[in-house]
């Protein structure tokens, strides 16, 4: 993409050079990339038909990479990514969802104290600390309800529905409904045949 400015953008800013958008995707605003520190070839990769609206935030560290599949929709999800987050096709991510592959700070209190004291006087201030990352993978046709949190290392299978305000701290079997804090399986879904999935136009 030559012009890194979105024509409909309400925020006066440009897309970072590491953002790769399919020409038939829809990113509402460059504001979503305010915290994006990722590097080329890509940090955020958005496939065909996917749309990101509202307060969606891509909070990517320098080595963070995240991919969106086709025909996903998100409105106000926050992605905290220092290594890898993948979202499959046909996913719905509701508002205030947080998906993180890192806690950003060391778990050990003494190491955390050292990291907090070593805060570099950069402008704008960016917190840099070595902390464990565990990639998050979200399958196809996943629907995550509003205000839910997906913790580092979690794999969510195809077709999973995560109930509103859940906290997902362990892997989810495909075609289940999970809910609660921590999220538990509350129902199983019948897995539809891939051949019967609707096909998008074009």
């Amino acid at each position: 993409m030559e012009n890194r400015r979105l024509p409909w953008d309400w925020h006066d800013g440009m897309l970072p050079s590491s953002t790769v958008l399919h020409e038939e995707s829809m990113v509402e605003s460059s504001y979503s990339f305010l915290l994006d520190r990722s590097q080329p070839p890509y940090g955020v990769l958005v496939e065909r038909g996917t749309s990101t609206y509202g307060g969606t935030m891509f909070d990517l560290g320098p080595r963070g990479r995240m991919t969106f599949g086709q025909f996903c929709m998100t409105n106000g999800t926050r992605f905290v990514c220092d290594e890898r987050i993948t979202v499959g096709d046909y996913c719905l991510l509701a508002w205030n969802v947080v998906i993180m592959d890192t806690y950003r700070t060391p778990l050990d209190p003494l190491a955390r104290r050292r990291a907090l004291r070593g805060e570099p006087p950069t402008q704008p201030r960016r917190f840099v600390a070595e902390s464990e990352t565990r990639p998050v993978a979200i399958g196809d046709a996943v629907w995550i309800g509003f205000d839910s949190v997906v913790l580092p290392g979690v794999t969510i299978g195809d077709g999973v529905i995560v109930g509103a305000r859940s906290v997902v701290n362990s892997d989810c079997e495909p075609w289940t409904i999970v809910a609660g804090n921590p999220a538990r399986v509350i129902r199983k879904l019948e897995a539809p045949d891939r051949a019967s999935w609707p096909t998008p136009p074009g």
């Binding site: 929709m73 046709a141 077709g159 609707p198 136009p201």
Partner: protein, 199 residues
Amino acid sequence: MTQAEGSHPAWSDGPPGRWEDGDVPTAVSLGEGTVVTGADVFKRLRSHRNPALVIGSHCTMELTQFSYGLDGYIEIGDHCLFSNAVLMSELEIRIGSHVVLGWNTYVADSDFHPLEPIARIADTIACSPIGAAAGLPRPDVVCAPVVIEDDVWVGPSCTILKGVRIGAGAFVEPGSLVSIDVPARGRVMGNPARLVGNV
């Protein structure tokens, strides 16, 4: 309540109710002494119904968002206090009098997308820029009215899901996600909310 008891002198010749940040939209009916604050609270009022929002008298709606689908309808009684709540209606939300909704509490009468996988995949395609340009219809979504009866207290960060009826005088503890009916004067908590006692 009669006019003599209820009306404050400050309201005697003013409007029945007011929105602090502009003119009240025509689909909104505010009762006497009701005050609504927040600049964007009617931004998502897309309902075709008129009135789409009826608020009784002497209510205080602080920064409470009203978000509608095309057939949404919300009715609120008298003397309610909502702060930073979000009411999302695709069908009907009925709230009684003397109801308190805490900060960051969401009330929705719909799930907004189909539960059934095939219909949901079709919905993601219909909602995408490509589907919208092709004019694909969105599949039907299950809606069920929400009823919150008189004197209910709902704490901050609660979620009231579709089809729920909360009985009169019930107490919903902070952070609860209510997916089942609550009996009158019941006390519920948790995600999902369970009955833990009575008021």
